[in-house]
Amino acid sequence: MGIQSLMQVRTNGDGVVSRRTFLRNVAVGAAGFSALGWKDAVTLHAEELRKQGMACILLFMNGGPSQFETWDPKPGTKTGGPTQAMSTAVDGIQIAEGWTRVAKVMKDIAIIRSMTNKEGAHPRAQYQLHTGYVPLGAVKYPALGSIVANEIGSPDSDLPNFVSVGGQGLAASGIGSGFLGMSVAPFLVGNAQQLPNNVALPRDVNDKRFDRRLGVLQDLEEDFAKSGGQQRVEDHKVLYQNASRMIRSPRLKAFDVGQEKDAVRDAYGRTPFGQGCLLARRLVEAGVTFVEVEVGGWDTHQDNFNAVKRQQGIVDPAFGTLITELKEKGMLDRTLVIWMGEFGRTPNINARTGRDHYPRAFNVALAGAGIKGGRVIGSTNDSGTVVASRPVSVPDLFCTFYKALKINPRKENISDLRRPIKIVDGGQAVEELFT
């Protein structure tokens, strides 16, 4: 009984704990059996986190971006191909040529050149780089965005805490909120240049008529509620209230990039990804906790060098402008920016002038949220075939994300099959990024 009063979870008549309330209230892990009692410890910590207002923007490079043509060029070598290197705003750090906007803001960016992993198939690697776990049929691991939304997102927010821009393909690979449930599921925005699907009232329905409709809906639900549907009707009502709050939120216009000046929209680039990054900045500014923006086209099995040039045209202005704007608006300290794909590409250039999948050595870029920019972590050998120093695994990388966001990676959530699942299994944060 003592434990129950501390945790105040709902139990039904058979003594079975409702999984949802359980998940919200239990924090088991390193915090453990502190003197304060679990609920107190969790509540205090959570409040603290929310006050800090940390946020995260994940720029996902779908397809596996070539490290040789991004942040780890090998000019003059056989594996480096024709790609040249360029200097950046930081002495001693060179990246592949053509990334001019990113080079300008290198003081704020940290590059990890020594990522190493085993998954070389798109769906498995994408899953792993989104959840930190290799796919296991039985457990639906939650994506990074869902964990972050669950840990530090405000549950009363009228906007979703996790927004995913341009990432519709990922849901099919089983990447979502997993066992954490609907409240932290990614809210999909297919097209960054228009409002999300179905948030606009239909043309012939104004606010007044919408209210009237909601009113008669509630009115007519009564009989069904009385004849055995009570709890269902109540859950439904809460859901519709949340949806209506979202439509009516004064913050909803954060979804409208059309409100930005042309010059700003041009700086990000008038591409879906560019406008998506702009949208991410607006959403984080409005208080959304986690925004993922995806761009495809990185799976350069053929014509790698021309293909990456095209990618560069899209990603360089977007990424560069995002960092610049976050800095200018004083948001960078509380916003973690992650640039990554599911793996890198082969040192060997194939017969179609392309590069194939290569998880053995690839790179990731990070900025914001206490990450010290202008530095490189780890290195690869001259030909880029193996990691030469300071290997970083996927669990290490995820521990780093959570350290920046002040989330405990050892905390355990209980899955729907009553298994305790740590936020990250193993791994150590890359401390050199923070000191």
């Binding site: 434990i3 039904n12 008549g13 058979d14 003594g15 079975v16 409702s18 999984r19 239990v26 088991v28 892990g29 390193a30 453990g32 059996f33 198939a121 798109h122 769906p123 498995r124 296991l136 049929g137 039985a138 099919a172 449930g181 609907m182 809210f187 699907n197 179905n198 948030v199 606009a200 239909p202 012939d204 009237r212 409709r213 008669v216 809906l217 007519l220 639900e221 009564e222 069904f224 509620a225 004849s227 055995g228 549907g229 709890q231 269902r232 859950d235 439904h236 859901l239 519709y240 949340n242 949806a243 979202m246 050892r410 355990e412 209980i414 729907d416 099959l417 009553r418 298994r419 305790p420």
Partner: protein
């Protein structure tokens, strides 16, 4: 309402879970690998097979017998069962349960007016004979069987989704028995491709997994779907909540150790063939040294080995024999548990694919009797539907307890959310077919078969969008299926939905308003179309008040239709 024994065991289980989790954390700093691995509960005195399975009646259970047995079981609990469903409620529920469709208003009227005392039984028979029955249940099992797929390339998803559904449809239409279906799936070979997905559809289940872990995944999924048991925890350590040991898991995987898949082609030419290797044994990795492993030979989870070095067809035939053996309680019980859960809204074991000798069940005596009945009928699925649906137990009204998760002990039916396919059918039934504007497909034409084309086209349409938003894993515990904001937004604001609600052109509402100038009739037909029932007197009053308030007949009816489509009841099976 609460069996004290069950309450204690649940609380203990929960508490044990907390303590186990806490213990795991506390010892994490210490020897990480060793102390982390939980041991399974002692297996010495555990009966894998219930005694009653061996000694119980060997005859099919009649509906009356089911009612009697439940009455006896509930006598001590002093629970009064819910009243029987009205005819209106019954025809909606039975039609949704068997076909995933709403009954049309004419059928509802006819059924309620019919004086034949056998009418409910006859309705059940009619529904079981329909194509819609076969399609509805093919889709259910397709979703169940593919829900844990790990092979997610889009060009492989399409052929196995289309192929498996098509094959299952044929089996259900011909009323093949569950034992035969299980056998064909476990032993399936053949090719699934975008050009011809329906060929070798049975292989869709195995094709959901490939790669180095495929044998493990297939074994785990075979246990989940056909035995109702989650054994994959035991892949790495003894199962913390049930008797399965690690080597038992791998002995199951060994049945699949020579099953291979060959993926071929790219893009539109892609496909997968389930085939066999000539050699290969299953290796269980050592926990101490990941580079070491031991060879494991096939042995069935519930007992039963085969000679060594068997080729793939012999292994899988043996597995099919063991799984579908008439001695195997869990094969019969897993199927019955699921179907009972679908029909009653709550099952004996919940979640429905988390059964086992040490798991807690509600009223297991009834499950054993039904499993015996299913076996006696040689696993005839339509026979089981008939037995259950003709019982009074099935025909009770819905009732919820104090909390959504409370188990009603089958004294009442439990309201569940309609699955996406069924909900879409209901929406189309009310608003008519949705014609999305033609889109530029660009590059996908050519050699794709019609089914594959429809699959891909469907992804981008309103129907595709709708089914993506409203879809959920059918094995999820019903009280844990949640609505989402995009679902609500879709039904509230989708431009095409709203367009079809309007009282214009040939829309439903325009026809209703023209044909029924009297509001009493118009409201009646509106409710019949959307909720398959007549409005109550109170609802009539509320609607009439609303009509008066708004003043404009068309506008008011549009709002009412909107409210009915957005109502809880529209999405609920009651």
């Amino acid at each position: 309402m609460c069996d004290p024994r069950k309450r204690v065991s649940y609380k203990l289980g929960w508490l044990a879970g907390i303590l186990a989790a806490g213990l795991l954390a506390a010892t994490a700093a210490a020897d990480e690998k060793k102390s982390r691995l939980p041991k399974s509960p002692p297996a010495d005195n555990v009966k894998i097979t219930p005694e009653a399975w061996k000694t119980g009646p060997k005859t099919p259970a009649t509906p009356r017998e089911i009612d009697q047995l439940l009455k006896t079981l509930l006598a001590k609990d002093n629970i009064s069962p819910a009243p029987l469903t009205t005819d209106e409620q019954f025809i909606r529920r039975a039609t949704l349960d068997l076909t995933g469709h709403l009954p049309v208003p004419a059928d509802v009227d006819e059924f309620t007016a019919d004086k034949d005392p056998q009418k409910r039984a006859k309705l059940i028979d009619r529904l079981l004979d329909s194509d819609e029955y076969a399609r509805h249940w093919a889709r259910y099992w397709r979703d169940v069987m593919l829900s844990k797929a790990t092979a997610q390339q889009i060009f492989l998803r399409a052929p196995r989704t289309i192929g498996l559904e098509a094959w299952l449809f044929d089996q259900f239409k011909a009323n093949k028995h569950w034992g035969e279906i299980a056998r064909e799936i476990i032993t399936a070979t053949g090719t699934l491709s975008l050009q011809d997905p329906a060929d070798s559809g049975a292989a869709g289940f195995l094709a959901a997994h490939f790669g180095p872990d495929a044998a493990n995944e297939r074994a785990a999924d075979t246990a989940r779907v056909f035995l109702g048991m989650q054994i994959q925890c035991a892949q790495c350590h003894d199962h913390p909540f049930d008797v399965w040991k690690r080597n038992q898991f791998h002995e199951m995987a060994a049945f699949y150790s020579r099953t291979r898949e060959r993926r071929f082609g790219m893009g539109q030419q892609a496909g997968i063939t389930i085939t066999a290797a000539n050699a290969g044994e299953h290796q269980m990795p050592s926990l101490e040294d990941p580079k070491k492993s031991t060879r494991v030979d096939p042995r069935f989870l519930l007992g039963g080995a085969i000679p060594q070095d068997q080729p793939d067809p012999a292994r899988r035939k043996a597995l099919a024999d063991f799984v579908t053996s008439r001695d195997n309680y869990w094969f019969a019980a897993a199927y019955v548990n699921r179907i009972w859960g679908e029909l009653m809204g709550q099952a004996f074991y919940q979640p429905v694919d988390d059964m086992g000798p040490q798991k807690d069940a509600f009223l297991p005596e009834l499950l054993v009797r039904l499993a015996l009945s299913f076996k006696a009928g040689n696993y005839d699925m339509k026979a089981l539907f008939r037995q259950v649906m003709n019982s009074e137990t099935y025909q009770h009204q819905i009732r919820l307890g104090e909390s959504t998760g409370q188990h009603m002990h089958f004294a009442a039916s439990y309201p569940t959310r309609l699955r996406a396919d069924a909900l879409w059918e209901s929406l189309v039934n009310v608003l008519g077919t949705f014609k999305d504007p033609p889109r530029q497909q660009g590059g996908r034409q050519g050699q794709l078969g019609a089914a594959a084309m429809a699959f891909f086209r469907g992804l981008g349409t309103t129907e595709g969008q709708f089914k993506r938003e409203f879809g959920f894993d059918p094995s999820t515990k019903p009280d844990e299926v949640e609505g989402s904001i995009p679902q609500a937004l879709l039904l509230m604001n989708h431009p095409m939905v709203n367009d079809k609600i309007k009282a214009k052109d040939t829309n439903l509402l325009s026809r209703i308003l023209k044909s029924y100038p009297d509001d009493k009739d118009a409201l009646r037909i509106l409710y019949l179309r959307t909720l398959a029932r007549k409005p109550t007197d109170r609802e009539m009053e509320k609607c009439n008040n609303y009509l008066a308030k708004v003043g404009n007949r068309a506008e008011a009816y549009e709002d009412l239709l909107w409210a009915l489509i957005n109502s809880t009841e529209f999405q609920t099976k009651r």
